[in-house]
Amino acid sequence: MILHTTLPRELIFQELDQSHEEKQMYLYHGIPIIAQPTEDNQLRISQVLSTNPNHFLHPHCIPGRTVSLFPSNLL
């Protein structure tokens, strides 16, 4: 792998003590999102992956919000 970036290598590959929780891709009402499962079986959205600008206007599908896995947690 050859990285062509302005960021110094030690910044990219720095070791972090705290463990990051696994973020995964899910579909929320057909909108692809990157989210992190919370303890109560919900998803905290961290990014909306869709290229459809209308998906960013969805009232619940906003980064930072917690949504229920239900009804579509299919990938």
Partner: protein, 246 residues
Amino acid sequence: MDTKTNEEQQPNKEESSPPAQTLVEKIQQLGQTNVPQFSRDSNIHCLTIIGQIEGHIQLPPQNKTTKYEHVIPQLVAIEQNPNIEGLLVVLNTVGGDVEAGLAIAEMLASLSKPSVSIVLGGGHSIGVPIAVGTDYSFIAETATMTIHPIRLTGLVIGVPQTFEYLDKMQDRVIQFVTKHSNISTETFKNLMFAKGNLTRDIGTNVVGADAVKMGIIDEVGGIGEAMKKLNELIEIKRKGGKELIQ
């Protein structure tokens, strides 16, 4: 499945109780629910290239990344969906994997639908080919692009072949950029190997209007100009046949 979804729904009850309850009932009765339909599909889709461009190796989680495996299928979907007529690419990237970056750039360049890119903040290193890969490119007045040589990271074998390989990798980037923009190979190489501009490296940091002056980017502008241009290109495509600029 019904019971499972029911269980999942329960902790959520206080948040949106009445509609959620009917939704559960609907699923229990009909085995399905209505996914909210977005009445009108947007004819322009937007692809954001942010943070590091991630290729073959997953970067540590503190990096914000744009993943190859997310972007490429999206581009395929955009290409084949007849309702999508144009693509806006928004860049704010520090660069990243050469192969992944070039792959995305090639996909954009070969897209049959009109595409416009806009560099906001920064479009550095391997972000440059992505920015120029679209039919027309914009850069915000304050945005910058860093053009610098590819350096070896990781295992370095001190034999001439290593440097030849690196040179070839770099040539791929240079060739792509010069082919898809108005900058000449010579000017681009001059920017790439310029001394005294960057604190930690050789290369040049090109700001907004300078990128246009040097021919890398087509125009200085923001989202308004970019959308206007994209709609123009779509209109040209609709009228049919006419070759796109560049």
